[in-house]
Subunit: 343 residues, 2 copies
DNA sequence: CTGAAAGCGCTTACAG
DNA sequence: CTGAAAGCGCTTACAG
């Protein structure tokens, strides 16, 4: 009567393994593995038996074991600068919708517009061997660049475009968009157009470049009209910048804010101070964020294709992760002027 | 002259492994492993040698191998309803700041207030064996509840509190906070106070309950004054709800909006329509989100402790993941009335 | 305090 | 098309 279990050395995880499924299906574990991943040709009958057994036992592959054996996980590292900018929330949403149903899980990292922090995130997450990498723009430390290159992980750059062949990217011309909204203000008869910006990240500076280009073409460029703050973009900062312009540059008749949140703050400041918009001063924003259409007056802005950027960027990455024909290296999407009553 | 390399069966990953470090340090791999993790007592001299060798070779542990061997990854699954509600961005920020420096990486999942989606996220991520789990509130499918319980992964509930012993949670009383802001409106002399809500998630409904309690106590409760929309919260929806109240309930003299974004929309609608706030109608919000202090007039609201919830929730989870004394099951944080000019 | 052995649960690389 | 063997790079569980 010795029914005590044998001295157990095995760690009992209780998990249903490939082995269990193989035994139940009467085939080898490799065959089950192949059948479940749809890899290679497996005899239809065996594949079906494997699937049925897996289903019946409630088999769920172990991602850690899979990652260890294949040297590749199913996570996709997505690096964005800041979640408090609704732009990136829209971007992430589109990325998730594209990747998740295809069996890849986005792993979100927030850099806070900080090169050192981005580097730390890469150092932390790259050892997980993500299947792919989605990063914002091209501006990063040399070390970060090398980490990405040496990792061998397929990488797509979002929100900006680059001419360089071999560099995968999906975005639009921030410069052109900045020039377009500035030209719109010129067409409305504005002559002293200020540019108010926060954060001063590369994309903001590209919009500044577009602003300059448009004003130079009109012979109306004046560096004194650029109000650049390195602070984070926020409604409160926008209000301050607006008041600042009013005080220091009384002849300004229009402001192009580099992002809708500071533009909204500007509009609110105008309302509080009783400054007529667009009568006394026109206000334009950028990105068409939530609420801009509800401002008083509704905000003229540029609708940027962040959802499309997320979708197309993820799709481009998908092709590269799967080794499919990669398609174009760079996709340039459009933008759209949204003219409302603030200009 | 046969210097062609031997037939290679090994997959050359090129990675520096524990073995390499052990060889270099002249100790066994297990000793290196223990030294690097600070586990158990390792002779100081050996530990130092192991650390030096690891440093010198640029050794980075393989998370997949670690997860497979230990049956536990270093990721912490964090489930929030929606990133477009800035509340959750603040929450995630605090969670990241608390967890990341301690060697745990948040893995963000967005449920979109959808029980089925939450369940799918759990089914997808739980097999990764996260070290811990942070979820929003208590409202989920029975299947989700079981998945969590059976996984054995330590779990802390955020944003709400529960009396149940053994259920770890960090939050505050949404009901009390809702009652408090309603009482503030009463104290301001308002008598026909409407409650406008979107989304109708559990926390919103708890605020509604607080609203009712306060009005009943004052003998002023009227179900007709509740305007509940299942749509997602947004500035645009707030504007519509405001106009709706004005039209359908002309005697209303105050509105308590369940979230600041719809309150901001209400304020903007008032401004557009020329309705005096608080003269004709008082407006109060909830959460004190970005921009509320910049509204015209500035919005009276309730400042909720989401950053503290994130920090304390993550800290509570940290203790549980490490098997330290767990501390209290439930931490109830406070909230703060922020009275501005809209009431 | 230290280490040899076993094992975590998969996939790769061959061979047939 | 299928499978036996080896291996991915760690940690656990023992033993000493």
């Amino acid at each position: 009567m010795n029914d005590q279990p044998p001295r157990e050395r095995r760690r009992a995880t209780g998990r249903v393994t490939l082995q269990d499924v193989a035994r139940a299906a009467g085939v080898s574990p490799i065959t089950v593995s192949r059948a479940l991943r749809g890899e290679r040709a497996v005899a239809p009958e065996l594949a079906e038996r494997a699937r049925a057994a897996a289903e019946q036992l409630g088999y769920v592959p172990d991602p850690a074991a899979r990652a260890l054996a294949s040297q590749r996980s199913s996570q996709v590292l997505v690096l964005v600068p800041m979640l408090s900018n609704a732009l990136f929330v829209d971007l992430l949403e589109a990325v998730h919708r594209t990747l998740f149903p295809e069996g890849f899980q986005p792993l979100i990292g927030v850099t806070h517009y900080d090169a050192a922090e981005e580097e730390l995130l890469l150092r932390t997450y790259l050892p997980h061997r993500p299947a792919g990498l989605l990063v914002t723009g091209f501006d990063r430390s040399e070390a970060a660049r090398q980490l990405i290159a040496r990792s061998g992980v397929p990488c797509v750059h979002l929100m900006e475009t680059s001419g360089e062949p071999g560099v995968a990217c999906v975005g639009f011309s921030q410069t052109d968009a900045g020039a377009a909204i500035t030209r719109h203000l010129l067409e409305r008869g504005r002559r002293r157009i200020a540019f108010c910006a926060a954060q001063l990240d590369p994309r903001t500076l590209q919009r500044a470049e577009g602003y300059r280009r448009a004003l130079r073409e009109a012979g109306l460029h004046d560096p004194a009209l650029e109000v650049l703050s390195p602070e984070s973009s926020s409604i409160a900062l926008g209000a301050r910048l607006f008041e600042d312009v009013l005080r220091r540059l009384p002849d300004v008749d229009a402001i192009f804010f580099c992002n809708d949140d500071i533009a909204q703050g500007g509009l609110l400041a105008a309302s509080r101070l009783g400054v007529a918009v667009p009568g006394r001063i026109a206000v334009a924003g950028f990105n068409d964020l939530a609420g801009s259409d509800q401002m008083v007056p509704p905000l003229t802005t540029v609708r940027t294709p962040r959802a499309e950027v997320g979708r197309e960027g993820a799709a481009m990455l998908l092709r590269r992760m799967r080794g499919e024909p990669a398609g174009p290296d760079c996709i340039e999407l459009g933008y759209e002027l949204v003219v409302r009553e603030s200009t």
